[in-house]
């Protein structure tokens, strides 16, 4: 028994490290309402910096530690609060999440750029020293970790309850404006929270690095454990977060001994944190519909179907030209662009129109691809069935998380994606660990499209058709309901709309679109594996979708190009892309419609400046200017009424401040 207790105490080590990281996350979130997705990424970068100071530069360990925890980390925290996160707490959840995802991508980019991949060893504290209690052994590093978590817990408790600024921090949670009226300084409070938060991320990263290794992704993704711990405390309670972290530490330590190591459940200890997160989120009590939020989001103008059709035809001509002239590798990249753009279309529906954030879209694409490979029917029927299966999985995910909104929903989909990735995609009955499955090129009406150029053109046709279908949906009854639900769920409820099934349907449709893209992608590559649908790829997917414009088709197309470049290009192109993303993410605070909407404004400005001059020089063609308005589709729209305003928003709509919508 005593050895069991000793064993348990020692096993608290991993829980203690999670607790340190999670408490930083909770502190920033509860004080500023910004959920820092990049928390783990900062821990990772700072673990590298610590390695740099202590190993590469040879500073004494204690000095390196002091420098990282008390100089570098707080400086980063201050900088982030001052220039990135300020005011983000009031933004829509898709924006605040995306900005921190941008930080995550930036951190990984920074780390890979500065610390090129090579073998590095993170040395544990007091390496070699260990203690024995009963029949169990504990290393000095583990003991230090446990002690550090106790110090952090006590320190945070003292800060929040025994100091003026700590009291102000707790007040800031409730109402920063009120705090200002009483002479408090919410900005200073927020700065402090970010400084401490990043510092704790650093400590967590440094303590875990010797166990996990100095790995860009492993260290970054360990934050899921911190998310899970924090979710138990509803992202705001520090004591519950510590309990959650310790519990999770114990579960992950003990599970391998009691769970089978073979078959599907063999992976279960890898996904325990994600399962824990998913379970905690599902168990959260039902949030009541919030009343009295400020509503109204200025979206980009909705093009008429005719106009969209014309642009679509133009795009197809362009793709056809490229398909004829591109080399095989470039054609594959072009097909990848089409895939990513289609997956982003699914986000236009879900996030842009519906206001829900999903971090599992690549997983749905993976489900579609897996079904396409397994069905062995490389034709339209097989493709549709694959999309339907993905839609079914989407509906299955939506069911348990129906009650969740905003951030909680996003985290639940992330947990689901992580579970699918490790437990399903990597298992033997699916793609297999590091394995791939063959897939046939799609054949349409018996004609197999064997040339890559032709296949890419077909993918572009799918993109255009899906885009136009999406616009038709947005213009119709369903589109109006989507916008109404996004603006005021409470009003929709009191008007008699059962939003649960509507949301399940929305998720299913969105997942089906992603699944279709996945199926087409498998056919393009003729082979596909779990690595193509790794769950964390959904993070940059959301990032680029939102930065380029998640409310418009153009944004999705541009985002597709951007994501392909991010995954497949040279460092110099990536650097340019990082700058575009950074600028775009910062601009999101002013206009959540992304780069595409700035482009539209530029286009309208150009049309105002140059249009009349060009038109006056052109001979007047019959029907040229009025063709659009006179088309049956446009007439139908005018008949229905109301949509005209959306088509040509009044100029003041452009400058109106964008209202935040709740989580």
């Amino acid at each position: 028994m005593s050895s069991f207790i000793a064993y348990t105490v020692f096993r608290l080590f991993s829980g203690a490290a999670f607790a340190i990281a999670a408490s930083g996350l909770v502190l920033t979130y509860s004080t500023t309402r910004v959920f820092n997705v990049a928390h783990g990424a900062f821990g990772m970068v700072l673990a590298f910096v610590f390695w740099d100071f202590s190993v590469r530069q040879g500073l004494p360990t204690w000095l390196a530690l002091v420098l990282v925890l008390f100089v570098v980390a707080p400086a980063i925290g201050w900088f982030i609060q001052r220039f990135v996160a300020r005011g983000l707490g009031e933004a829509p959840v898709s924006v605040s999440l995306v900005v921190t995802v941008a930080l995550l991508v930036g951190c990984i980019g920074f780390a890979t750029y500065v610390y090129k991949p090579e073998v590095r060893t993170a040395v544990p504290f007091l390496a070699g020293t260990q203690f024995t209690i009963g029949d169990a052994t504990i290393t000095a590093h583990q003991l230090i970790t446990i002690l550090a978590s106790a110090v952090v817990a006590a320190g945070l408790w003292a800060l929040l309850t025994r100091t003026r600024i700590g009291t102000a921090m707790r007040a800031s949670v409730d109402n920063p404006e009120l705090l200002k009226l009483f002479g408090g300084k919410p900005d200073r409070v927020a700065s402090l929270a970010w400084m401490i938060g990043i510092s704790l991320a650093a400590l967590g990263g440094i303590l875990l690095a010797p166990v996990v290794g100095l790995d860009y992704y492993q260290l970054t993704l360990l934050v899921i454990n911190a998310y899970a711990a924090a979710a138990l405390g509803r992202l705001t309670s520090l004591p519950l977060t510590f309990v959650g972290a310790m519990g999770l530490g114990l579960i992950t330590s003990f599970a391998p001994q009691y769970l089978p190591s073979e078959g599907m459940l063999g992976q279960i200890d890898n996904i325990l944190p994600a399962l824990f997160l998913f379970a905690v989120l599902i168990a959260l009590p039902q949030a009541q519909l919030r009343v009295g939020q400020v509503k109204g989001i200025v979206s980009v103008p909705l093009p008429s179907i005719t106009k969209a059709g014309a642009w679509g035809a133009g795009l197809l001509v362009l793709v056809a030209l490229m398909a004829r002239s591109f080399t095989e590798p470039n054609l594959l990249l072009l097909g990848t662009v089409a895939t990513f753009a289609m997956v982003m279309l699914s986000l236009v529906l879900l996030t842009g129109y519906g206001g829900h954030v999903s971090l599992a879209q690549f997983t749905f694409a993976g489900v579609g691809a897996l079904a396409y490979c397994k069905l062995g029917e490389p034709n339209l029927y097989g493709l549709m069935v694959s999309a339907l299966i993905a839609a079914g999985v989407g509906a299955l995910v939506a069911l348990p998380v129906l009650r969740l909104t905003g951030l909680y929903l996003a985290l639940a989909t992330l947990a689901f994606a992580s579970i699918m990735d490790k437990m399903i995609f990597q298992s033997d009955f699916a793609f297999g660990y590091n394995g791939t499955l063959p897939a046939g090129r799609l054949s349409i009406l018996g004609n197999s499209i064997s040339s890559t150029g032709g296949y890419v053109f077909v993918m572009a046709v799918f993109f255009v058709v899906m885009s136009i279908a999406l616009l038709v949906l947005r213009r119709g009854v369903l589109g109006r309901l989507l916008i109404a639900m996004r603006d005021s769920p409470a009003a929709c409820g009191t008007l008699g709309l059962d939003m649960r099934w509507f949301r399940v349907g929305l998720f299913a449709l969105s997942a089906g679109m992603a699944g279709l893209a996945g199926g087409l992608y498998a056919g393009l590559r003729e082979t596909t594996g779990a690595a193509d649908y790794e769950f964390f790829k959904s993070l940059p997917l959301l990032l680029l979708a939102v930065v380029f414009g998640v409310t418009s088709i153009t944004g999705a197309a541009m985002g597709g190009v951007g994501l392909m470049l991010l995954f497949n290009s040279t460092t110099s192109t990536q650097s340019i892309l990082f700058i575009v993303i950074a600028v775009g993410a910062v601009l999101l605070g002013r206009n959540p419609n992304g780069v595409a909407s700035h482009l539209f404004r530029l286009g309208r400005w150009g049309e105002r400046q140059l249009g009349p001059r060009i038109r006056s020089r052109l001979p007047v063609l019959p029907g040229q200017s009025s063709a659009e308005d006179a088309s049956p589709a446009a007439l139908a729209v005018v008949d229905e009424g109301g949509e005209q305003a959306a088509e040509e928003p009044a100029p003041r709509a452009e400058t109106r401040e964008v209202a935040a919508h709740g989580t």
Binding site: Q288, L289, V291, G292, V294, K295, G296, I297, V298, S299, G476, V477, L478, R480, L481, I483, A484, R486, D487, S488, A490, A491, C492, G493, T494, L495, G496, L497, D498, M499, D639, E640, G641, G642, E643, Q644, A645, A646, P649, R652, A653, R656, A659
Partner: protein, 282 residues
């Protein structure tokens, strides 16, 4: 009362932590009548509305509507049974135009996701009826507050409700608009609908309501016809903090110490209660 109550609120209690927002409140609203629910700010009126419409689960107590209990009925099903409401803090669909707002309500009411298309006249007729046709093409987040309240009413009416719950519907309307609004309420009641209205405009309440319930500190302290309620000393005490007829001690536990300052009275035109009140409608 001689009529069947359309809505019965029975001994409802709502507590938020240590605060009791609604304290054993019971009242009814009848079909074909305009019922007023009045009381000082913070008396629990909107919380009552939230309980009735299902946005807030009561700590205890029951709500019956149209002869059936509603305790576990979700929000949308209450609406389907014929309950419509507007909000004190506006809940218009800000990104949609005024006409689209009403169309959405129509689509939801029709079910089958709008396969039965509302004719343009249905929607425009409603806008006409509440008097906001001029704003049909405007985005709902750009119209004046009073207009947005009327929009919420039009949106409700698209669902052809048996009971209308109107939360401060006339705030933001000018005098002539308020008069027209009063007429509209009488018309709606004459069609057989029940109207339950939270309102601070005492002129309107006294003119339009058939029955008034007065809430204070979450409890119903008076019910009756406008003339009776107007002269009720407990009501005067609740609104003004004093009454010539009720000594301070007598109200302990009900409404003593409302803490309403004279300044608060400018927010709520309750001064009217003791001042010159307009004639009560027969």
């Amino acid at each position: 009362m001689g009529r069947d109550a359309l809505l019965e609120v029975d001994d409802v209690v709502v507590r938020f932590g240590g605060v009791t927002a609604v304290n054993h409140a019971s009242f009814v609203a009848e079909a074909g009548r305009v019922t007023g629910l009045i009381g000082p700010n913070g008396a629990g009126k909107t919380t009552c509305f939230n309980v009735i419409s299902g946005l807030q689960r009561p700590t205890s107590g029951k709500v019956r509507f149209d002869g059936r209990g509603l305790t576990h009925t979700p929000v949308h099903r209450r609406a389907k049974r014929g309950m419509g409401r507007t909000f004190q803090r506006l809940e218009a669909f800000g990104s949609l135009t005024v006409r689209e707002n009403v169309r959405v309500a129509h689509d939801i009411h029709q079910g089958l996701l709008g396969l039965v298309k509302p004719s343009k006249s249905d929607v425009d007729g409603l806008l006409e009826r509440v008097g906001i046709s001029a704003y049909a093409q405007e985005r709902a987040d750009s119209i004046p507050t009073g207009t947005a309240r009327l929009l919420e009413l039009a949106r409700c009416l698209a669902g052809d409700p048996k009971l209308l719950l109107l939360d401060e519907p006339s705030s933001g309307l000018d005098e002539s608009e308020t008069d027209a609004f009063g007429e509209l309420l009488r018309d709606l009641a004459a069609e057989g609908r029940g109207v339950l209205m939270v309102e601070h405009d005492m002129d309107l309440v006294m003119t339009v309501c058939d029955v008034i319930h007065v809430l204070d500190f979450g409890s119903v302290i008076a019910s009756g016809q406008p003339a009776d309620v107007r002269n009720d000393p407990l009501v005067q005490k609740a609104y003004l903090g004093y009454s010539d007829d009720v000594p301070d001690g007598e109200l302990a536990g009900v409404s003593a110490g409302t803490g309403l300052s004279e300044q608060t009275l400018t927010d709520i035109p309750a001064v009217e209660v003791t001042a010159q009140l307009p004639a009560v409608r027969p």
